[in-house]
């Protein structure tokens, strides 16, 4: 059972050959080999995901802060966050941000996918460049947006003013409601390509004969989309939406760079507020409790996803 290459080297040293063949034989056992192959990944995931997760729960139940060992305080941190008006705003913002950004990403992403599914010149180039917002580090591209939304030097205000659309500048980031919508626009800009490209991959698996047949039966473009394309794309759509909801709900960097939670803490998300309390103010217990408020929502989404996957496998 010794591999050909190992045999030649082992012939000179009989003792070593025995050792090699024993470990080789051990690795022929499927269970042993499986454990050996899975070990590196599982160890890293255990140390850096499972363990911190348990620690997050422990932190949240104590009053630990930087340099101060915590003592158990029960659910005080959660109760305190629940009463905190900034946290309430942050949680509402997170739901609002996730909902609208997902709606826009899905509808615009679908539209873009349908456009890219047609034949035109430079198609590959256009498709490749459409993914750029998704590739370029979010922090860096968000800076470009922040510059475009600048109160004094905004190129958008300049253009609207000089084309006669506005007489006074728009308060992009200086008004809480405006700032939230700006964040939704930037998030849509960044996430739309992900939707478009994955949905495009789904579109390409749909047999064109189906559209042909529907068209012959007199269905117009909208009906063909609604009764042929949409149902067939539903499985891909659902998975993409789940991924996007998780990413958007737990988003941090976009808000951190675009508004920093301001003006007057009006645009915080759960994650940016957890950072402000847990890292900037050093209240680790309080911060951990705040970020754990994301968990039930994320858990719900993942649970739906897993149920769905099981059903697909069963079918």
């Amino acid at each position: 059972m010794v591999a050909g290459s190992g045999g030649a080297a082992g012939a000179a040293l009989p003792a070593e050959r025995l050792v090699v063949s024993r470990s080789t034989r051990l690795l022929e056992n499927q269970r042993v080999l499986a454990v050996a192959l899975l070990a590196p990944g599982v160890i890293i995931l255990t140390i850096f995901i499972a363990y911190p997760f348990v620690m997050a729960i422990w932190f949240a139940l104590t009053d630990i802060s930087v340099g101060v060992a915590g003592k158990f305080v029960g659910i005080d941190n959660f109760a305190k966050a629940w009463e905190d008006t900034i946290f309430q705003t942050a949680f509402r913002n997170t739901v609002f941000y996730t909902f609208w950004a997902t709606v826009f990403k899905l509808s615009l992403g679908m539209w873009l996918a349908l456009l890219l599914n047609r034949h035109f010149r430079l198609k590959r180039l256009v498709r490749a460049s459409m993914l750029l917002p998704f590739i370029i580090p979010t922090v860096l591209s968000t800076f470009a947006w922040r510059w475009m939304f600048d109160p004094t030097f905004s190129v958008i205000n300049w253009t609207l003013y000089h084309t006669g659309w506005i007489t006074d500048r728009l308060p992009f980031l200086s008004n809480g409601d405006w700032a939230m919508w700006c964040a939704i626009v930037v998030n849509t800009w960044r996430g739309m390509p992900f939707f478009a490209i994955t949905l495009l991959a789904g579109l390409q698996t749909i047999n064109p004969d189906l559209h042909e047949a529907a068209a012959l039966d007199g269905a117009n473009a909208w009906h063909r989309f609604w009764h042929v394309t949409w149902p067939l794309l539903l499985p891909v759509t659902l998975v993409v939406v789940v991924f996007s909801v998780i990413q958007t709900f737990s988003d941090f960097q976009l808000i951190y760079v675009l508004t920093g939670g301001g003006p007057a803490n009006e645009t915080h998300l759960v994650a940016t507020y957890a950072y402000q309390i847990g890292v900037a103010s050093g209240l680790l217990g309080q911060g951990a409790a705040i970020s754990l408020f994301m968990f039930p929502v994320l858990f719900g989404v993942v649970w739906i996803q897993l149920r769905y996957l099981k059903r697909m496998e069963g079918a």
Partner: protein, 283 residues
């Protein structure tokens, strides 16, 4: 095909597509224009008339010079590159091994492990960064590149495993069985037969993992503190804004230079990237 009139094609296809292209690419264009624009032209009020609002007749390299001389930008670039490379390689090795085990080997608990790895895929970094910072500090890894090289794999391994598992399943079993009849061990057959066949899948996973590492922000922000250890995204945020003053020329020059390596890597492997992207959600 359905026959269309000319104006309809413009209305329903060319114009929407043009708007999408403008929306997608304008921020990058504006980033580039700003980086090359001299300061007096940059800081002109939104009401001021301008002969050349969307480009400049006096391009300058001043901002790039200021950026490279006045900050540790090249060091950050190097840090980011190194961390992204090492994290990608660690994740690929773990993902190839684990993906093979889940795709090919029969053992108790394989379904449970597959699900568990899939769930860790969906755990966001923002849920864990506070206790993780403490753990990193206790392991004496704080403020070293290893803090990121070891934690980035947490969101890369699940995705690599999932993607490669799917890829390995498409490779016919006969290929391996032939090698085993010729005397190859299971491990040998995996390394010499399956992995070489799976190169496109491995490239997809690798290029996707590389761009994700390059993009990561919150771990780098929390785990690294000294200027010379920082990655590009964190360095740009924390060092290029002095007090409340934004040096937009330098910021945009930094954003542009920081985007180039990842954009280059992407442009060389677009097809693999797209395969990775679409594979990452299909499982």
């Amino acid at each position: 095909m359905v026959i269309e009139r000319r104006w309809k094609k413009w209305l329903y296809f060319y114009i929407p597509l043009a708007v999408f292209i403008l929306f997608t690419l304008f921020p990058f264009y504006w980033m580039a224009v700003t980086a090359f624009r001299p300061d007096p032209e940059l800081y002109r009020s939104w009401r001021a008339a301008s002969a050349t609002p969307f480009w400049t007749l006096e391009p300058t390299l001043e901002h790039f010079k200021g950026l490279l001389e006045g900050s540790e930008f090249l060091q950050w670039l190097w840090n980011t590159m190194l961390i992204a490379m090492v994290a990608t390689i660690i994740s690929l090795i773990c993902g190839m091994f684990a993906g093979y085990a889940l795709a090919r080997l029969k053992f108790r608990g394989s379904e449970f492990l597959g699900t568990a790895i899939f769930i860790t895929y969906l755990v966001p970094q923002t849920l864990l960064f506070i206790p993780l910072a403490d753990i990193i500090r206790n392991m004496q890894l704080g403020n070293t590149p290893w803090a990121l090289m070891l934690t980035y794999p947490t969101f890369l391994i699940p995705f690599c495993t999932w993607l490669l598992m799917g890829y390995f399943k498409t490779i016919p079993r006969e290929l391996e069985e032939c090698a085993r009849i010729d005397g190859a061990t299971r491990f040998g057959a995996m390394v010499r037969i399956i992995f070489p066949v799976a190169v496109p899948g491995i490239l997809s996973a690798g290029i996707f993992a590389f761009t994700l590492s390059w993009n990561e922000f919150i771990y780098a922000l929390v785990f690294l503190s000294s200027v010379e250890q920082k990655t590009v995204p964190v360095g740009v945020v924390s060092e290029l804004i002095r007090g409340d003053t934004f040096f937009w020329g330098q910021l945009m020059a930094g954003a542009l230079l920081g985007s180039v390596p990842v954009a280059l890597a992407y442009s060389f492997f677009v097809e693999y990237y797209v395969a990775g992207l679409t594979g990452s959600v299909k499982g």
